[in-house]
Amino acid sequence: MSDDTGAPRTDDGAGIPKPSSEPLVVLSDVNKYFGELHVLQDINLTVHRGEVVVVIGPSGSGKSTLCRAINRLEPINGGTITLDGQPLPAEGKALARLRADVGMVFQSFNLFAHKTILENVTLGPVKVKRVKSTEAKKQAMELLERVGVANQADKLPAQLSGGQQQRVAIARALAMRPKVILFDEPTSALDPEMVQEVLDVMVGLAKEGMTMVVVTHEMGFARKAADRVVFMSDGQIVEEAEPETFFDNPQSNRAKDFLGKILTH
């Protein structure tokens, strides 16, 4: 996928390419309310092309809402979000076009329950991008091969394990050749033994230079694959740093408290 973005990259030797300095997703002064609840408070965040940003924080901190706001599954009440220089359009055809460029992987997989695994992956390319059916199938099989579920292509989602379904969901997102993929707690609904197979695919994507915004509780993944960790609490971005800096030397009390609770067990 790294070829698609066309951004210049250098390899830092650890296998993970350095992100470019070109901004791809820019949130400025984003505010969002659920009724009285101020779930996103003056959020400013820039994700550069090729960058892997991991968003962590306690439940209810607004991290999922932030992720969903980027492709307007949650409309915002104030501020602006731009993708590749374009502001997010309101509902309609323009928004649909923009969403085609933003992959999304959900906590609950959300594979189309009445379609086979292969059809799940080809639906977007055929119906949205008007790729020829035979070509879409070929590409879908390559992607399914890559995430290790090609032998399940003719089954229905309910016949697959959670880990397999989530890998198909990643293939479905990749099939659209997105500029960025959003992961909304992709491993939270998985049985523990299936978490690793999904994370392995995600680490692979990060290594290939895919731009990713990942909301997760997997600190191992954050350490291994993130260019930057964003810590959210109570609707605010409290801290942003490279993973080593953040995990080894958190600055804010809230981050220290959070890390203390999750890293001690």
Binding site: N71, L73, E91, G92, K93, L95, A96, R97, L98, R99, A100, D101, V102, G103, M104, F106, S108, F109, N110, L111, F112, A113, H114, L123, G124, K127, V128, K129, L156, A158, Q159, A169, R172, A173, M176
Partner: protein, 224 residues
């Protein structure tokens, strides 16, 4: 018994039932189309369409079918000039189909909406996330699952429709209930056998429909 069979033989019973079957068939198709459009309006993101769909359902669902049928025969055709055929019998047949379709569509709409509610919201989100706008998402992802989830209530609606076709006799469509009325008028001594015969005919028509509905709802259930 032999006399009663002779009485039955004087009437075109099968032909009369055929009217009910035709009424149910055409009204079934038209109400399914109209009801689906209404359901789409009610789940669409546009408030004006939602309002129009809800208003239709709340209005039409609460009018007795006989009133809708009478409206078709005495207002829609003579006053508003809606004519379906130059042949008077044909015209009344299609006016009855119109009334049945318009009436049943409101129930079809609500059956489909109950089916839409069986589709998890994540399905729509995933459809939007790959760049499908409202109509393609509805056509490719939501409705195929919603129809499967609404087979049981749709089946009930169509069974009610089959029986409601007898209301067409109110505007002199020669269906089985009109023939039944003639028979009762002319052969009062056979009232009970006449009623039982007509009732049995409907049971024979409707039972297979119910069986097919049950079979389909099991066969087509979406595994989650």
């Amino acid at each position: 018994m032999g006399d009663f069979l002779q009485v039955l033989g004087e009437y075109d019973i099968a032909g009369a039932y055929w009217f009910n079957v035709k009424l149910a068939f055409f009204s079934g198709i038209f109400s399914l189309v109209l009801g689906t459009i209404l359901a789409l309006m009610r789940i669409s993101p546009l408030p004006s369409l939602q309002w129009a769909g809800a208003t239709y359902v709340n209005l039409v669902r609460n009018i007795p079918l006989t009133v809708v049928m009478m409206f078709a025969a005495f207002a829609l055709w003579p006053q508003l000039g809606v004519t379906f055929s130059e042949n008077l019998d044909q015209n009344f047949f299609w006016l009855a189909v119109w009334a049945l379709s318009v009436y049943t569509a409101s129930f079809v709409c609500e059956s489909i909406r109950s089916g839409v509610n069986t589709v998890p919201v994540g399905q729509a989100e995933a459809a939007r996330a790959i760049g499908l706008s409202f109509l393609p998402a509805a056509r490719l992802v939501i409705l195929p699952q919603a129809f499967r989830g609404s087979i049981a209530p749709l089946g009930n609606t169509f069974i009610a429709l089959i029986k409601n076709t007898t209301v067409a006799s109110a505007i002199s469509v020669a269906d089985i209930s009109l023939v039944m009325k003639y028979m009762v008028d002319q052969h009062g001594n056979y009232v009970i056998p006449i009623f039982l015969t007509v009732a049995a005919g409907f049971v024979i028509i409707v039972i297979p429909v119910g069986l097919v509905v049950t079979l389909l709802s099991q066969r087509l259930a979406v595994a989650r």
